[in-house]
């Protein structure tokens, strides 16, 4: 098994990139001449069933991939990555940043025929985003009220200034609207609509057979003219990645989103003319691989040791030989895809330098013992993807070269979160940091101190830096975009200097889609978007 992964060497990676380029370019050229075809059933690979299909209640790609076709957000991102109205038509902020007004689209109806109004927006914002939605509850912490002067205006009132560009970049993920008349009675968490969503989107929920499939059909009354093209979308539950690749080849699936296949299958299908394999359309779902340090270990509390560990690992070699084209060298917590905030690579970096790593460890006072060892660490890899597993093994071998023995302790998802973020029973942990288009959404929580134990993907390292905390807090309420960008550049420089977490690899999810699909991957969060313009060629 391990050897088959190793086969993706540089050469395969290069071939794959050529194939990807060819595949992506040809259909694009063809677009101009083709007239969209109405009809057809689009079959989607659905890897892990969720407890929830309503994106106003759970922010995750596993929900957007289905709920994002049925329900719609206020705003989404356009092809260039700029906010574009969906259920909202325009917006403005008051000079003090405490009042943000949305003008809503008129003539939109829910799938059950009732009109969409500002009451729905107010209800969703106050009862779902603020109280239940993950990341939404943090984003809307200072939201005090939503006024509805008329059915097509929603006025968000904040206790502290809310930067408009933060809200607009967060809302594509955290701004889905649910119908008030469906949810106003009873417990929101137990509402039957959570698994049979009612929305305003281009597709209407039809049927959910647990463990098998979900079906949504064309919404004949969709507000965009002549949309959607597809008759039906079917999400097929396939938990085995190799089986999903086989079903793509057998023509039973059209699309496997969010790196749903094994790395070797993605590389293989990339050379097949029947498929397009690309990271395009996933720029809004960037992530970085991490190494998280537990400062409760005295060795790791020493900054020299953390830097030595970073210098000891040959990241470019790992990327080239294991991840191929699907990853690139990371430079810190804000990935290069985030054009609005990326500070460049001129922040402190830790290139591979074994001699320097050894010298730093000696300097820190952890000399090699008789057997050549300095000390031993427990590394907990997250079970989210095969790249993490490979990366953990690579860390283990690299650190063993500089005299640090690493024991890898594997857990499933629940076990990993509990041990790392609740019990702090780790020395090193590695997983993904998900970047959600603005650092204030899900990035700075990795660094801000004072996070209660049990909050996953937050600063649980036993590390605190008041100067960094201050920058994080200031940036979250800074309404001048230029000043905000400067604050985040300062934040990255300091974070990379202190190195409580190291984020040396940048990845974007990989899409595998049938070459017959048209108008796909045309926005930065396409897999999550509504697919109103997607169509299938004969």
């Amino acid at each position: 098994m391990e050897f088959s992964r190793l086969e993706i060497n540089r050469r395969t990676a290069l071939l794959t990139s050529a194939a990807i380029a060819a595949n992506v370019l040809n259909p694009l050229r063809a677009f101009a001449a083709e007239t969209p075809r109405k009809g057809g059933v689009f079959n989607v690979h659905y890897g892990a069933e969720q407890r929830q299909l309503n994106p106003s209640l759970q922010a995750s790609t596993g929900v957007y991939i289905i709920g994002g076709k049925i329900q719609e957000p206020l705003v989404d991102l356009d092809a260039a990555g700029n906010p574009v109205g969906v259920l909202a038509e325009s917006w403005e902020s008051s000079p003090d940043g405490k009042t943000i007004t949305f003008r809503l689209r008129q003539g939109v109806t829910w799938h059950d025929g009732k009109p969409f109004t500002s009451d729905d927006v107010a209800f969703t914002a106050l009862n779902m985003w603020k109280k239940i939605l993950n990341y939404g509850s943090t984003l809307q912490l200072f939201l005090t009220a939503v006024d509805t002067p008329d059915p097509h205006t929603a006025v968000f009132r904040y206790e502290r200034p809310m930067p408009l560009n933060l809200l607009l970049r967060a809302l594509p993920d955290l701004g889905y609207i649910s119908a008030k008349h469906i949810y106003e009675t009873g417990d929101i968490r137990q509402n039957p609509a959570n698994l049979a969503p009612v929305g305003t989107g281009p597709f209407k929920f039809n049927k959910y057979e647990r463990g098998q499939y979900i079906i949504a059909d064309r919404n004949e009354n969709y507000w965009r003219p002549n949309a959607p093209y597809l008759d039906r979308i079917v999400w097929r539950v396939i938990t085995d990645r190799a089986a999903a690749a086989a079903q793509l080849e057998a023509g039973e699936l059209h699309y496997s989103p969010f790196s749903g296949l094994t790395i070797s299958d993605m590389a293989r299908l990339g050379k097949d003319k029947r498929f397009v394999v690309s990271t395009k359309g996933n720029e809004g779902n960037a992530r970085t691989n991490t190494i998280e340090f537990n400062f409760r270990r005295k060795e790791l509390a020493d900054i020299k040791v953390r830097r030595a560990i970073a210098h000891a690992i040959n990241v470019p070699f790992f990327i080239e030989n294991f991840l191929g084209d699907f990853a690139k060298l990371g430079t810190g917590p804000i990935p290069s895809t985030s054009t609005d905030f990326y500070p460049g690579a001129n922040t402190p970096q830790y290139p591979y330098d074994k001699a320097k790593a050894n010298a730093l460890l000696d300097e820190a006072g952890f000399k090699r013992e008789a057997g050549g060892n300095r000390f031993a660490l427990r590394l907990l890899p997250a079970p989210w993807g095969e790249d993490i597993s490979l990366w953990a093994t690579f860390i283990q071998q690299s650190l063993s070269d500089v005299g640090i023995q690493v024991e890898i302790v594997r857990n499933d998802g629940g076990g990993f979160l509990k041990q790392v973020y609740s019990d702090h029973a780790f020395d090193l942990a590695t997983g993904w940091h998900q970047y959600r288009n603005d650092p204030a959404v899900s990035t700075t929580v990795w660094y801000r101190s004072g996070q209660p134990a049990g909050a996953p993907w937050t600063n649980q390292w036993g590390w605190e830096a008041p100067a960094i905390d201050k920058i994080i807090d200031d940036a979250a309420t800074e309404i001048d975009p230029v000043k905000r960008k400067a604050l985040y550049a300062d934040f990255v420089t300091r974070a990379n200097t202190e190195l409580p977490i190291w984020m040396p690899i940048e990845q974007i999810f990989v899409t595998v889609i049938s070459a017959k699909a048209r108008n796909h991957s045309n926005t930065p969060r396409w897999g999550s978007s509504t697919w109103h313009d997607l169509w299938l060629a004969e």
Binding site: A48, R51, A59, S60, G211, V234, A243, D412, F416
Partner: protein, 325 residues
């Protein structure tokens, strides 16, 4: 009447075992780090500590372990399997939905393995150490040694991708509104590959047991008597040898009915079938205690039932074993 009292006694003897198993599984899952809320957070990709507290309360996880266990057993006594955390439905409903595909797959592959194993075992024993025996034994060994996920994927490659004869996965055609015979045929088409994949491994065991048991019985005195009586070889084999040689096979069915339920996780995943094995796996990963215990409960009932049938079969096959025990 005798059968009924035997059934009653059997059931009475199984109840304490059942409770011990359930308590064991309950405690075992407490040792696994993380609970269903952690698993849910993992799925959501984030959440704050306050949300986690509300959710723990919602799922009744804020209570102490003995109280949770006590509540569970008390509900069980009233035949209430509780509420599934991942499915948001009563566990009984969730399991009943998954039971038909599992039982279909299990009976189909067990019957396939049993009958094919029986026939091949007899052929091998008749031609012991000659080429049919060598061929059958070698092929059996290969089947036994091959992992089932590989078999499944290869079968999909050949029959679904290249030949395009059979579907690559799923339980039935989606959206097809067939009923009656059409639907039955559709489901049967979907089950061919999984049945073969799951059956082949068991086939190897059955054929080896059958062969060994045939060889043993063939050397017994009463077989010599039957031959001396002038019976032809076919009658000797069918009337005298086969019936006696079947006993170990029947024992094996009873034992494997349980294995098959758990062993189908892999096959269900490869062929995307909505069965109990996958449900159990998912409940472990999601730490959905109620669902998992419910599955253990139902599986245990199934195994008890199958073993009871096996006991009855024993008595039919060998009158020396009476149902009185």
């Amino acid at each position: 009447m005798r059968i009924l009292s035997l059934a009653g006694r059997r059931l009475a003897a199984s109840i304490p075992t059942l409770f011990l198993i359930l308590i064991g599984v309950f405690l075992l899952l407490q040792f696994a780090p993380g609970d269903t809320v952690d698993a849910m957070m993992a799925q959501m990709g984030g959440g704050d500590a306050a949300t986690a507290r509300t959710l723990r309360k919602f799922y009744g996880l804020d209570l102490s372990v003995p109280v949770q266990l006590g509540n569970y057993l008390w509900r069980l006594v009233r035949l209430d399997l509780g509420y599934s955390a991942i499915y948001g439905k009563p566990v009984t409903t969730v399991i009943l939905e998954r039971l038909p595909p599992t039982i279909l797959l299990m009976t189909a592959s067990l019957s396939f393995a049993f009958f094919a194993g029986l026939v091949l075992g007899v052929i091998a024993a008749r031609g012991v150490n000659k080429w049919p025996d060598t061929l059958i034994s070698t092929v059996g060994l290969i089947f036994y040694a091959t992992p089932s996920f590989w078999f499944g994927l290869m079968a999909i490659m050949v029959f679904s991708i290249y030949l395009q004869w059979l579907p690559a996965g799923g339980f039935e055609d989606i959206g097809a509104t067939q009923s009656g015979l059409g639907r039955t045929l559709d489901i049967a088409r979907h089950l061919v590959l999984p049945t073969l994949t799951l059956g082949l491994i068991f086939l190897a065991i059955y054929l080896r047991i059958m062969r060994a048991s045939m060889l043993e019985v063939l050397n017994l005195d009463f077989v010599r008597t039957a031959r001396a009586k002038g019976l032809d070889e076919t009658r000797v084999v069918i009337r005298h040898v086969l019936r006696n040689a079947l006993l170990p096979m029947v024992t094996l069915i009873g034992l494997q009915a349980g294995t098959m339920l758990g062993g189908s996780v892999v096959v269900e995943s490869v062929f995307s079938l909505p069965g109990l094995g996958r449900l159990a796996y998912e409940s472990v990963v999601q730490r959905d205690l109620n669902t998992l215990l419910g599955i253990v409960f139902v599986s245990a009932l199934l195994v008890i039932a199958v073993n009871f049938l096996v006991d009855l079969l024993y008595a039919r096959l060998d009158p020396r074993i009476s149902a009185e025990g």
